[in-house]
């Protein structure tokens, strides 16, 4: 074939090359996916690390609050100690031991009193049980007073 000679093919017979995913396309896709997954992983890792440090910070805060709580509880105990109460009552409130004691005997024996309380407690308990037993359906159909 001499140079400059081009054989023109009829249009109807022109061969169109088949479009298929080449190795480069697959590589590009893979790269894209890898990048995406990497970014996603990095983002997640960063978020987890950040959350980890947040948790550490909150744990430290919790520890500090617990320490403060313990110290306050000790202070409360010291303020409620008998030594301080005696000192305060004597020095600030000018209180002292009673000079005269009077015992008053009452009619009701402690047993009677405890029985009365027990009866009262029982009635309260029964009322509570009744309230707990009734559900919204029963409440709904209960005739109003």
């Amino acid at each position: 074939m001499s140079p400059g000679f081009v054989r023109a093919l009829p249009i109807g017979h022109r061969r169109i090359p088949k479009r298929s995913l080449g190795i480069s396309a697959i590589f590009a896709m893979g790269l894209l996916l890898t990048t995406l997954f990497s970014l996603l992983y990095l983002n997640q890792a960063s978020a987890v690390a950040s959350a980890g440090y947040d948790i550490k910070g909150l744990e430290d805060q919790k520890t500090q609050l617990q320490i403060r709580n313990e110290q306050l509880r000790l202070k409360l105990g010291q303020l409620q100690s008998l030594e301080r109460i005696e000192k305060e009552s004597a020095n600030r409130l000018n209180m002292g031991p009673p000079e005269k004691l009077l015992f008053v005997s009452i009619e009701a024996s402690p047993e009677d009193g405890s029985d009365a309380h027990a009866a009262s407690r029982d009635s309260i308990r029964q009322e509570t049980q009744h309230k707990n037993a009734s559900n919204w359906w029963e409440e709904f159909w209960r005739p109003s007073d």
């Binding site: 440090y53 105990g77 409620q80 100690s81």
Partner: protein
């Protein structure tokens, strides 16, 4: 050929064969390289194989760190739910001086928060040392927060536990000490150390270059198990009263020391236990040898010859064996001879003496008459049955069994039977004595004394310690008769003088004791141990109190030094327990 000629030829020969010459060079180079490789391989072998463990542990130390998480020590509660000993966390401030760029500036910043001179802090920070130095320990939470707000680099706040005592230093010898390593050293802290201490945990985690834990790094942790809480039978109010009255008595009589125990007769629960001298729980000095004896608990570990309070035991034996009755009278001749020795009273009285009068007058002759009438075998059976000569089994460390010599144990002489009857030649601990008298108050039933009623874990699971009956020592009738005799001791003064232990409006039973102090070859000329043991109200005993005052200087007598202390304590306890006064007539009936 001459020598010079041969050398010349040789040189010409090598020069003449360049391949041979290159081969030599190559061999030399190869040998050097091979030697280097061998050296490297050997070094590699040494590092990788021989020193494997060493470098592995170095690498582990670099990247991994195991931190021990200390367990929190359990709280000690009184019977009414008040904290007597608890653990409080404080933070301590540390710095590594070599890491501080500007010690002066850092010191000035810290000075304002710590209330310490800046120069003092600066001198600590300027030492250039690489290990941490303590700048200030046990900061409260507010100071620690202020330091955090300063955002100073290279200063560290480390949490630190401290045993704290909200009620102050009460029951110090009973509660005991804890060492810096969280180990109980004395008292309940030692006896219940296994429960109170807990088990430390650990964190094994990957660290970054700054030594901080890597958030996404590997981590293995074992949480600490905090110590259990211990609930005592001690009532802080009763303890407070007892300590106040003991201090007052020691001041008033310029005494060397003393002990007071309060016991619940029906259960054996110890309601209060105090000794003097004692130590301050908040300021123990463990490095001073002279203070070591203060950490013991004399109420359970020190023995003394009880003197006349022991006549209660002697009379119990006499009554229970039907050898004597309260109204039985014997002929007091002013002396009593037995086993090669003679017993005399402090005050000479001649004539018939009832057994009640023996106790009222604290007659040594009468007591010797009873013990010898009962007989050695039965007398010592009762003494042992009351718990003498053996530990009571109280849940405290270092209890002494006392010293009891009997015909079958130790060097014993027949005259000992007479002297033992009034508390001489026998040594007992205060806890033994009060436990024995509590048996009389409890209808003859001997209870085991105890100070811990419950051990509670963090989930609220309770381990209870119930009252333990040891044995029926004397019959209830004997106990009742003896209690009436002891009421007469306190109520009916023989010499017309009011008895010091008498609590107006209440029936009180008890007995005084004035004991000489044994020394090598005899007894001390001057000092005595004054004591009183009694219970109230006599008709339905709520508590038993033992008072022991060591070497009172103004009076040697139990009646003057110990009985008034009993009255003071009993009066306050009767009011505290809201026990109404008993009509003397009806109660006696």
């Amino acid at each position: 050929m001459s020598e010079t000629g041969r050398n010349e030829a040789s040189k010409n020969g090598r020069r003449g064969n360049p391949i041979e010459e290159q081969r030599w060079r190559l061999y030399t180079l190869m040998a050097i390289v091979l030697a280097c490789i061998l050296i490297l391989v050997a070094k590699l072998f040494y590092l990788q194989v021989v020193q494997h463990e060493h470098f592995l542990s170095m690498a582990r130390e670099e990247h991994w760190r195991e931190t021990t998480v200390p367990a929190k020590r359990g709280t000690i509660w009184d019977s009414k739910g008040h904290r007597l000993a608890t653990n409080v966390t404080y933070e301590s401030l540390y710095a590594v001086p070599s890491q501080i760029d500007d010690p002066g500036k850092t010191a000035r910043s810290l000075s304002a928060v710590l209330n310490e001179p800046a120069e003092k802090i600066a001198s600590l920070l300027s030492s250039h040392q690489n290990s941490p130095v303590l700048i200030k320990g046990l900061l409260d939470s507010q100071q620690a927060q202020e330091i955090r707000n300063l955002h100073l680099g290279n200063v560290y706040l480390e949490p630190q536990f401290k045993r704290a005592y909200p009620e102050g230093s009460i029951a110090s010898q009973l509660i005991g000490l804890v060492g810096r390593d969280n180990v109980g050293l004395s008292g309940l802290e030692s006896e219940y150390d296994e429960d109170l201490a807990g088990k430390p945990g650990s964190i094994f985690a990957e660290r970054d270059t700054g030594g901080d834990e890597i958030a996404l790094g590997s981590r293995q942790s074992r949480p600490p198990v905090d110590g259990l809480d211990v609930v005592l039978t001690i009532d802080r109010y009763v303890q407070h009263v007892v300590e106040r009255e003991l201090d007052a008595a020691i001041r008033a009589h310029n005494a060397d020391g003393g002990t007071i125990i309060v016991l619940e007769p029906t259960t054996g629960a110890v309601l209060a236990l105090a000794n003097r001298p004692t130590f301050d729980l908040n300021d123990p000095d463990l490095f001073q040898p002279s203070r070591v004896p203060l950490y013991r608990n004399p109420a359970i570990s020190d023995v003394w010859e009880p003197g006349s309070v022991f006549k209660i035991v002697t009379m119990a034996a006499g009554l229970d064996t039907n050898t004597v009755t309260p109204d039985f009278a014997f002929d007091n001749k002013g002396y009593f001879t037995y086993g090669g020795g003679t017993v005399r009273n402090v005050t000479t009285r001649i004539g018939p003496e009832t057994m009640t009068q023996v106790l009222q007058r604290s007659s040594n002759i009468g007591a010797a008459f009873v013990s010898t009438s009962v007989g050695a075998e039965k007398f010592y059976q009762y003494v042992k049955s009351f718990g003498f000569g053996q530990p009571t089994g109280i849940d405290l460390p270092g209890e002494s069994p006392g010293i009891l010599r009997t015909p079958t144990q130790g060097p014993w002489y027949p005259f000992d039977l007479a002297t033992n009857s009034f508390g001489q030649g026998i040594s007992v601990t205060p806890i033994q004595m009060i436990t024995a008298v509590a048996a009389v108050a409890n209808g003859g039933l001997l209870m085991k004394p105890y100070v811990v009623s419950q051990v509670i874990d963090k989930q609220g699971k309770v381990r209870r310690y119930d009252p333990t009956i040891i044995r029926q020592v004397i019959s209830p009738n004997t106990a009742s008769a003896l209690a009436e005799m002891l009421v007469a001791v306190v109520e009916q003064a023989e010499d017309g003088q009011p008895k010091q232990a008498k609590v107006p409006g209440y029936l009180v039973a008890g007995k005084t004791g004035t004991a000489e102090i044994p020394v090598a070859g005899g007894y001390k000329e001057t000092d005595t141990v004054a004591s009183f043991v009694g219970f109230a109200p006599a008709e339905r005993p709520r508590f038993v109190v033992l008072v022991k005052i060591n070497s009172p200087k103004d009076t040697p007598w139990g009646e003057q030094a110990a009985a008034p202390v009993f009255r003071q304590v009993a009066q306050q306890l009767l009011l505290y327990y809201r026990i109404p006064p008993s009509g003397t007539q009806s109660a006696r009936r």
